[in-house]
Subunit: 256 residues, 2 copies
């Protein structure tokens, strides 16, 4: 966290105070000597971010695909060596979209399997997870400038990360899963951010049956969740939530 | 806007309702026969988005640089022809970052001029602009899923756009300015989104002296605003705001 001197104006007038702001870092990801991308991110857990990013892009599948990973703080570069080599990589165009990335075209959906989990959860369990999620969000509380993502089971949060990007936060979670060889079947993802098609795709790639967001989904996010058999919950705030898809996993009669 | 049938759970139990969700569109931008990028965006004012994107990437400078622009709704592609041709374009890598894009490296800062405007504004004028900005945000009110951006003078909003991406919303605003040959010196940008270095750079490129955000800035966003002599206001909510840089343009003594 970074401190800056600012002027705060309120009804009581203006005062000079010291404020904390979120840090922005520019990370180059170099995969087998190809610089793939430069991500604006939060400067923490950059190994997890790089691994999660490479997984989301389909360039690695698991921990065994990583021969070596090294971060050069000075140049802001992380180098990953793998015996996997995508021969299209040099022609691959990394796409910036609004608040998004990767995802060269609609045809590149990597997830070919439906998520077949039989997990069931009650609204009260969802609300409890969201309460815990919000309590974890330290940087957000101090700076208001980050997204968070968490991997959970019904009992609580297993992995939690924050980043200035909602994609990065999720990639850090999956990067940690991969580095720790942790299976994600039957688990739950919580995100603070909007659920676009790209976010659903990331979650489908990890075979996760339940995606919970504090924010709104897009129509394509909903469509993909439907297709991949992911239960999508949005606007989970206070004691309210919207169930967009595959409601069978939500035991909502039991909650009354 | 798109309608979906959802289950809403509240303290009163579960009910099936029809809800509006924000639409997601995948737009390919083809510049002189090179597909540059595919943006996830909101399907409105795509011409402005394409022109604003090309400007932000430094590929066009003004309306005269556009020979032809045509949108193919069916394929989701917009073709822009220009006599300007960046010979590096095919090797240029478009970068996805978290909630960001473009911006190949820190060395690529395009804006070389300081913003030298003598505009002054009072906090009450800022609050009035933010009130008007929030009133304009129709899609957000209905779906909670978009960002907005507006170009204003002290008297009110001149151009307003919404998009699922905070970058896209600003690009649409600047795209409209360029298509209408509208100068932006001495004007004001309002954004609903976080202010990272990339956002400040866009604003500096249009020589705009005042950037107002409902959200948080990052440390690099503040640093660039300082360097480019842009007055940066964040967390403008209700009757409160933070002045991060170049406070001389804010007549805050007059507001008491």
């Amino acid at each position: 966290m970074h401190k800056v001197s600012i002027i705060r104006i309120t009804d009581q007038g203006a005062s000079e105070i010291e404020d904390r702001v979120v840090e922005e870092f520019s990370l180059a990801i170099i995969f087998n000597d190809h610089e793939l991308v430069r991500l604006l991110c939060s400067p923490k857990n950059l190994n997890f971010l790089a691994v999660g990013f490479l997984f989301s892009e389909g360039l690695i599948k698991n921990k065994e695909d990583i021969k070596e990973i090294s971060l050069q703080e000075r140049t802001g570069a992380i180098r990953v060596r793998s015996h996997r080599f995508d021969k299209d990589i040099s022609s691959k165009r990394f796409i910036g979209s609004s608040g998004a990335r990767g995802f060269p075209s609609d045809n590149n959906l990597q997830s070919d399997a439906m998520v077949g989990s039989l997990i069931r959860i009650s609204p009260n369990e969802v609300f409890a997870l969201m309460d815990e999620f919000i309590k974890c969000s330290d940087i957000f509380k101090e700076t208001g400038g980050v997204h968070s993502a968490a991997l959970c089971n019904k009992e609580g949060i297993l992995i939690f990360h924050e980043d200035i990007g909602r994609h990065n936060a999720i990639d850090k979670v999956f990067g940690e899963c991969i580095m720790k060889d942790m299976p994600t079947d039957d688990l739950i993802i919580i995100t603070s951010g909007r659920v676009s098609s790209e976010i659903v795709l990331k979650v489908a790639n990890k075979n996760i049956p339940l995606l919970i967001s504090k924010s709104a989904p897009t129509n394509k996010g909903i469509k993909l969740a439907e297709d991949f058999r992911i239960t999508l919950l949005g606007f989970v705030r206070g004691r309210r939530m919207n169930i967009y898809t595959h409601k069978g996993r939500i035991a909502h009669n039991e909650s009354r």
